[in-house]
Each structure stands twice: as C-alpha cells, then as structure tokens.
C-alpha cells in the first residue's frame, strides 16, 4: 500500500490477486464438483434400478416452481440454517457438536413450557422464549464442554449420549403428570399465547414465510463478523487450525473449548424457534426432529461459511420438500434421501481433493513467482555488470 508507486511494489501485488481469484474458483469448485458427483451417482442408482436417470430431477424442479412449495422450502431452510450455523461454530474450532439435535429439541421443549407459563407484553414475550431456548441449548452443550475440558471426554461421544438423554428427558417432561397436556392422540406442552408468536411474512398465494428468517439472517451476519473480525473469533479459528500454535499465542485452550461449545449450543437452541414461534406455538410429539443431523450435512456442504450454509440449507430443503412429488409419479421419494447421503460423501471427498490441489497449486505458484522475481533481479544485475 505504501510503496504502490514503485515497480517492485506493483510486481508484488499482482500475483497475490491472481491467487485470490483462484482461491474463489477453488471455493466454488469444491461444492460444484461434489454436486455433480452426487447427481451422477444418483443417476447411476436410477439406471441400475431401471428408471429414467433424468426424469426425477425434472419432476422435482417443476414441482418446486409452485409458490407454496417454495414457501415450504424457505421455511425449512430457515430451520436448517440455524442448526447448521450451530454445527459450524464447532467445526471452526475443530469440535464436532453432534449434539445440536438434542440441544435444539430440549431447548424448544423447555422454551415452549416457559413461554406458555408466563404472561408478558408482545415483544418481550418472544425475547423471553428465545432467551430460555438459548440458555437451555447452551447449558446442554456446556455439559459436553465441561466433560471435555475437565475429564478429556470426546465431545463426539458425550454429545451423542446427551442426545439420547435429551430424548428421554423430553419424553418424561411432556407427560401430563409433568408439563404435558393430552390433545387427542398427541401430547403437547400447551399453547403459547399470541404475545409470544413471532409475526410471519405474507408471501401472497404461497402462504407465510417465517418471520424468524430475519433473525436467522442476522445470526449468519453476526457469525461472520464474530469469527472474522473479532479477537475472540481469531482465537477460535486459530485454535481450530492449530491448538498448539494457539496455546503458544496465548489462547486458553480449555476455556476456548468450553466457550465455543456453549455458543454452539446457544445457537442450536434457536434452531427450533422458527417452528415454535412461527407455526406450532407448542412443543408436541410431532415437533420436527433430526434437524441437528441435517445441520451437520449443511455445515459441511456450506464450508462453514454463512453464505455457503444458506445455499446448502436451500438445497437440502429443496430435496426434502420437492421430493414429495416423486411419490405421485411412480418414483420413491427416498431417491432424494439417497442423494442427500451421496452429497455428504461427495462433499467430504471433493473438498479434501480440492484443498490438496489448492495447496499444491499455491506452493507451485509461490515457487514460480519467486523464481520469476529473482530471475528479473538477476537480469538486472547482469545488465548492470555488462554496462
């Protein structure tokens, strides 16, 4: 910046820019490659079972052209997005929070009970429910964090176990003897009064989009800013990239593990909110489950980047919702499930392949640039000498 006018300065700038564009190409190349492979493999599965390898895609795309299906997709994606952000916080720190599923369900359940039990003015009521959800999610993930820092228990194991425990706790708490109410065949936690509903956005003939999508988008923004622009985020990323280097740089690794686990759980706690505040207004036996696991897929697919996660969430939500049409047209909607699975495998493989390729490319380029620089340097020298 300071020596922009000097020829040396400009010579130094140019290569870094080409590497940047290349980095962008590589960033997009990974997911694109993964998708192409997943589609090709799904088509292969279809071919082997004697079906048209193309028609299901056409059907799904046509179906998704309907406004109401689009609303469904966007709403589903909102939930997925928050769950995936929660997973991504862990990933950036090299922590595998498989417990997002238990965290969001427990959080939604207790937030629903708390929300139905209090009377508060409109905005406050919603904030109160969200706060409860964040605290419960954070608490549940915090147990895994504490186990890891104090006893060295792998968070993978403990969060899976906590998922199972959460399932049992919810099943217990939702019984009529505790907080539950019998509604026909369903058990619910009682309806949250209107003051605790999050206003939805009118999407015309398609129906209503969860107003919580705004919160989700803000979360994505906050996630990016915190990770990339704050000291805390730098420490977190450094710990994820190299725990030993981070420790030497002054990061308290244990505290970092605990803090990021708590944050991940807090965000996970919000994953149930779009449905709870925007649609069901109660926690019942039919409350969506398994979102946390889908969140892992999406975080992987989106490379832990808020925009990537948004696209990933939309893609998976599209497969979920648009696949309904397959059943009506003689295909099994499980084709979409197969594809989701293949995407995960393809993503893991292709990202690693692209990462390695990128590293090699860069090393080569650095070598070339330096050789070119010193070559020019050399020429100048010999010119100077002959003159």
């Amino acid at each position: 910046m300071t020596d922009g006018g000097m020829p040396v300065g400009t010579a130094r700038k140019r290569p870094s820019r080409t590497i940047d564009t290349e980095r962008l190409v590589l960033a997009v190349g990974g997911p694109a490659l993964a998708l192409a492979v997943a589609i090709a493999l799904t088509s292969a599965v279809l071919l082997v079972s004697g079906r048209s390898p193309v028609e299901p895609y056409v059907l799904m795309v046509e179906y998704a052209a309907n406004a109401d299906i689009q609303v469904l997709i966007v709403n589903q994606a909102t939930t997925y997005y928050i769950a995936a952000l929660a997973v991504a916080v862990g990933f950036r720190m090299n922590l595998f929070n498989i417990g997002v599923d238990g965290q969001y369900r427990l959080a939604a359940m207790i937030a629903a009970v708390a929300g139905a039990a209090v009377t508060l003015p409109p905005v406050l009521h919603v904030l109160f429910i969200m706060l409860v959800a964040v605290l419960v999610g954070a608490f549940w993930a915090g147990i895994a964090g504490l186990l890891k820092t104090s006893r060295g228990v792998s968070e993978v194991v403990s969060t899976i176990m906590l998922n199972a425990i959460a399932t049992s706790i919810i099943a217990f708490l939702v019984l009529p003897d505790q907080f539950g109410e019998q509604r026909g065949n369903n058990l619910t936690t009682g309806e949250i009064p209107r003051s605790g509903w999050f206003p939805n956005l009118d999407a015309g003939p398609g129906g209503e989009i969860y107003g919580f999508i705004v919160v989700a988008a803000l979360l994505g923004l906050v996630y990016w800013v915190v990770l990339n622009r704050t000291r805390f985020g730098f420490d977190l990323r450094a710990t994820g990239a190299s725990p030993s280097a981070a420790a030497a740089s002054g990061v308290d690794a244990k505290r970092m593990v605990f803090t990021s686990m708590v944050i991940s759980g807090g965000v996970a706690g919000l994953a149930g909110m779009p449905v709870l505040l925007g649609d069901s207004h109660t926690y019942s036996l039919v409350f969506p489950a398994g979102i946390g696991f889908t969140g892992i897929t999406i975080a992987l697919l989106g490379r832990n980047h808020p925009l990537g996660i948004a696209l990933g969430a939309l893609l998976i939500a599209f497969l979920d919702k648009a696949s309904a049409t397959l059943d009506y047209n003689g295909y099994e909607k499980e084709i979409a499930t197969i594809m989701q699975g293949l995407i995960v495998i393809a993503v893991v493989v292709s990202y690693e392949a692209v990462r390695r390729y990128g590293l090699r490319r860069q090393q080569q380029r650095v070598g070339e640039e330096l050789a070119a620089q010193s070559g020019a340097h050399h020429q100048n020298l010999s010119k100077g000498a002959s003159a």
Binding site: T2, F234, A238, A248, S249, Q362, V366
Partner: protein, 508 residues
Amino acid sequence: MHAIVGENGAGKSTLMKILYGMQRPDEGTIAVDGEQVALHSPADAIDRGIGMVHQHFMLADNLTVLENTVLGSEHLYGIGGRARARIREISEAYGLGVRPDALVEDLGVADRQRVEILKVLFRGARTLILDEPTAVLVPQEVDALFANLRELKAEGLTVIFISHKLGEVLSVADEITVIRRGTTVASVDPGDVTTRQLAELMVGSELPSPETRESTVGDTPVLTVSGLTLHTRDAEHGQRTVLDDVSLTIREGEVLGLAGVEGNGQTELIDALIGTRHADAGTIRLSGEDVTRWATRRRREGGVGYIPEDRHRHGLLLDAPLWENRVLGHVTEKPNSNGFLLTPKAARADTERIVESYDVRTPGIDVTAGSLSGGNQQKLIVGREMSHHPRFLIAAHPTRGVDVGAQAQIWDQIRAARREGLAVLLISADLDELIGLSDTLRVMYRGRLVADADPATITPEELGTAMTGAASGHLEHESPSPAEPAAPREEPRAAGPEAGDGREENDA
C-alpha cells in the same frame, strides 16, 4: 557421498522432492544407474532404490521401531520375525545399533534418525537422501552419524546430503554441489575450498568479516528465575522431575545461551517461561514483577517475545495467510486489533512492512504460511516478534533449518535488539551459534543447570562434553597455549554468528 548446499529457497528441497518423486520436473531428465527414469511418486523412487530421510522425522511415537519400519512395506519381510531379523541384519551391517522392539517415544533424537535411515535401507534403498541430518545433533552425535554414513559409503551406497553446516560438509563429502536461485552455481571438490569460499558461493557475494563485539550487558535484571521446578506424570515413568531447581538471571542487553542435548528440560523451561505450563515450585520475575501465575497472553502482552523451537507446531498457522500469521500471538495488540475488533487493514499493512524489512521472500501476504520455505517462515516469525518490542525474547533454535543468508539476518536482528536492551534466552543445538551470540553460557542436563562457561574462551567440543553430563561447574578452557587453538576456530566462525550483517546479498 555428495553434498548439496545452498540457501533456503535456493531450490534444494525442490530438487530433493523431484528426486524422491514428490514433485514432477517441467523439463530435464533424471538418470539412475545410467538409465533415464520418470519418477511419479515416492513409490517409484523407492522402486529405483532412492530413499529419503526427512528433516522432520516421520515416525509414529507410540509404535516400536519394528512397527515403524514395516509400516507401509509389510510386503517385503512381513511384520514379524522375518522383519525383525532383517532389521537386526541391517543394523549390524552398518553399525546403526537399532533395537527393533524399543518404543520410538523412548528414543533420543540421534536414535530416531538412525531408525529413519534404517527404514530407508529396509526398503532396499541404494541411494540415500538426507535432508539436514545434523541440524538436531550435538557434535558427538554428528561424528557418530558420519561414521554410519561412511559405513554406508563403504558398502557401495550413495549418500546425498543437504546441510547448512559447511564445516561438516567439507569434512564428510566427496563432492559438493552449490545451488543458488534454482541453478547449480558450482561443483567443487572439498579439498579445494574453505568454508568461507563455500559460504560465499552459496550467498553469491563476499561475506562480511566478523565485527568486534562489545558487551551490551546492563545492570538491570529483566528476567529472574529462581528455584523453578516442574514435574510431569505419565503412566510409564510415574512422576519425573523435568525441571529441577532452575535459577537464572538475564539482564538487559544480555544474551544467555542455553546448551544441552535435546530432551533435557529445555522444552519444559520454554513452556514454563511462556506460560503454557505452570511451575510446581519457584518464581519467574519479569523486570521485578512476579509473573509466575500469569497466563500466556498476559506474559506476551507484557513484553515476552517468543521464537518457538517448532515453528510449524507453535509459531504458525500453516493454512492461514501471512497476514493472519502476523496477528497470531499478538491479537490483543496494535496494529492487529483495537480492543475488541480486529483491524485487518492495519495488520495487513504491517505485514507488508515486515515482509519488506525482514526480507521475507513471498509473492504476497495472502499466500499461506505453509507455502513459504522454512527460512522465510522463520524470518516472518522473527519480524513479528520484534515488531512488538519485547523486553525479553525466548529464541529457541532461531536459525534451525535456515540458510546462511537468513541466518545472518536473524542473528543481526537479535544483536540489534540486544543493543537496545533486549534480554534474550537463546536455546540452540548449533553450538557455534550459541558461542558466537551469547554473553553467558549455561548447560542444561537432566533438568538442571549443571555448568556455566564463558563464550569467549570455550570450544564447541568442551561444551559438548558438558552437555553429555561429563563435566559440570564452571568450564575453563583447557588448552595451555592460547595462540594455537584460536587459529582453526577462526574459520568456521567466519560464517558463524559473528558474521556481521548478511544483508549485503539483498542490496546487490
């Protein structure tokens, strides 16, 4: 035995990678035994009888020597008795003294290196490539290694070895190739050149002559360590004392050199000083202030600079761009952040400055640290640490794996900071560096400071003896006639730490 010498970034590693099939050449040919070959992978190279011993050992600590050796070549002699017999056979044939059933984590550096050599021979290598094999060894171990290498040579094997220590190269090689900026600049016979001429060939210009040095040691103690004791516990050995009542004082403008065979408590001392491990007893004072209980970050903010012994593990984020690596360790300080938020713009500008003034050779600050050569990575670390004007610098092996040019620069920077009152704890396996740069020398053995010496009179050999625990107390130079031993030492020292500023080469 063929030696390849050259600055870092000169292309030695690239050449070795090509020979070992890790990288493909754009042009040119490789011939093995007169037959032209194309090496696409290390497996190809191994098939052609080319084996490589890397600078960073590639051994699994928790496996035995036998397991490490057969790993990946189980098809040769199986994994049981036959392999064990073969290992014994090789070990005896070349005098390597390797025990197949020892756990690698129990082995010292020199033993590990012999395991690496054995691994390569086990795979049937006839040509051995050794990447800076002596960087981690004490003089006695170096001699033993060279004895092994001569043994190999006598059996008709070819050894290619890369080194920065020109004295060693001259003593052991039959032929020397000097490369600079990617091309061969000279092939010399070791009988025809001196270390100084060799160094000049490498750097491409005349080396500056040694400057006379005056002491800059002040009166004010900067670091005072007293009674520092640290225990570790592990399942196998129970409780061990790794630091035993260590006391030392470093004054402003003083470089205290710590000699010792690796694994005698230096790493633990560094950990205790930087705060990644807390002492069980004793105190650490920084300019009189008790910092014993301070966390690492507070110490770093308080003016402790840190050049770690393993830059890949402790000093850098290899996959992160240079400017983020400039932030690492100083994220709470300007120009990297203001209180809560990072200030990438200022950090980037400052990274440009470091790259410029510390001569880090890189096409830009957005490339990852991992794509730079070792010497340039180290210059970035030194630049980063010096940029925060530390009061006390921990310099662990500051020039390990760094070429002559960069080495001189790093020494220069340490010396310049010392003139301004910096206190330095210098830990190094390079005894010339220790002796040349230090104002005071201490020797560490089994967690204790067992000896001290005056760098003005001590020789590397005498220091090496104390490092093995054979001598203690105050080491006096033994030679009765002072005129004689001074002369031969002049030569290696010319390229050594005393060698003023090596920046000449860059001004050219």
